[in-house]
């Protein structure tokens, strides 16, 4: 679809908005519906749209396979590292009180933010990998 100017321009207009919306869904997941999984899917949808209109090789130029593979692993590592951090600082595994020892209650939003970003990163990169490998 590289030859269709209208689609190219519309994609260029939409792409940043979809990305920001995906980040909003991830980050705002503790106040409104949303979270890592949904937000990751939206971010993946932005890259998939780019890959559909500009063809997959162009998409792989802005997000090479090596980068998406690395980020996919990094998402899981962020989650596990958040747990390990609380373990190492004397709390139980994945106990968010570790993130704010002075006020054990308010650690939850922090832990949630970190974890949601990890989940979102993994989900987005797996979906992009799916598009990369299935599109043929």
């Amino acid at each position: 679809m590289k030859d269709q100017h209208i689609l190219r321009v519309a994609t260029k207009i939409m792409f940043p908005f979809i990305l920001v919306f995906g980040l909003y869904v991830i980050f705002h997941g503790d106040f409104s519906p949303g979270g890592g999984f949904q937000g990751g899917c939206v971010i993946a949808a932005a890259f998939i749209l780019y890959g559909l209109v500009y063809d997959a090789p162009a998409m792989r130029r802005i997000l090479p396979r090596g980068v998406s593979d690395t980020l996919m692993c990094l998402g899981v590592l962020v989650y596990v590292a958040a747990g390990a951090w609380s373990l190492l600082s004397g709390y139980r595994f994945l106990d968010w009180a570790a993130l704010s020892p002075a006020d054990p209650g308010s650690g939850e939003p922090w832990g949630m933010g970190v974890v949601e970003y990890g989940v979102g990163l993994t989900v987005a990169m797996v979906m992009i990998t799916l598009f990369n490998e299935v599109s043929g």
């Binding site: 679809m1 689609l7 949303g34 949808a45 749209l49 559909l52 598009f131 599109s135 043929g136």
Partner: protein, 89 residues
């Protein structure tokens, strides 16, 4: 004037419209008719979700409708690309 009843009636009208379009999606002679019907149903789903938010009196959940507007576009482009080029990448 009862706005709640008005919203509910509008929701029923939207569902009626969806059912008419669904007929075209199932019957549709060409693939393009089906894709068009899908696109139209996606837009009507945006409407329906927004209306449901106002019917239940909690309109703060319009993120979903916003997401639909985005996803509908992506899905339509994906299906069109498949029909036109027989590949996705």
């Amino acid at each position: 004037m009862n706005l709640h009843a008005v919203n509910l009636a509008a929701g029923c009208v939207v569902i009626l419209g969806i059912s008419l379009v669904l007929f075209r999606a199932i019957r549709g002679p060409t693939s393009y008719d089906r894709v068009l019907a899908m696109n139209v149903i996606g837009t009507k789903a945006v409407l329906l979700v927004a209306l449901i938010g106002f019917i239940t009196g909690r309109p703060e959940f319009l993120d979903i409708a916003l997401l639909y507007a985005v996803i509908n576009f992506v899905a339509t482009i994906a299906i069109l690309k498949f029909v036109e080029y027989r590949r996705l990448g």
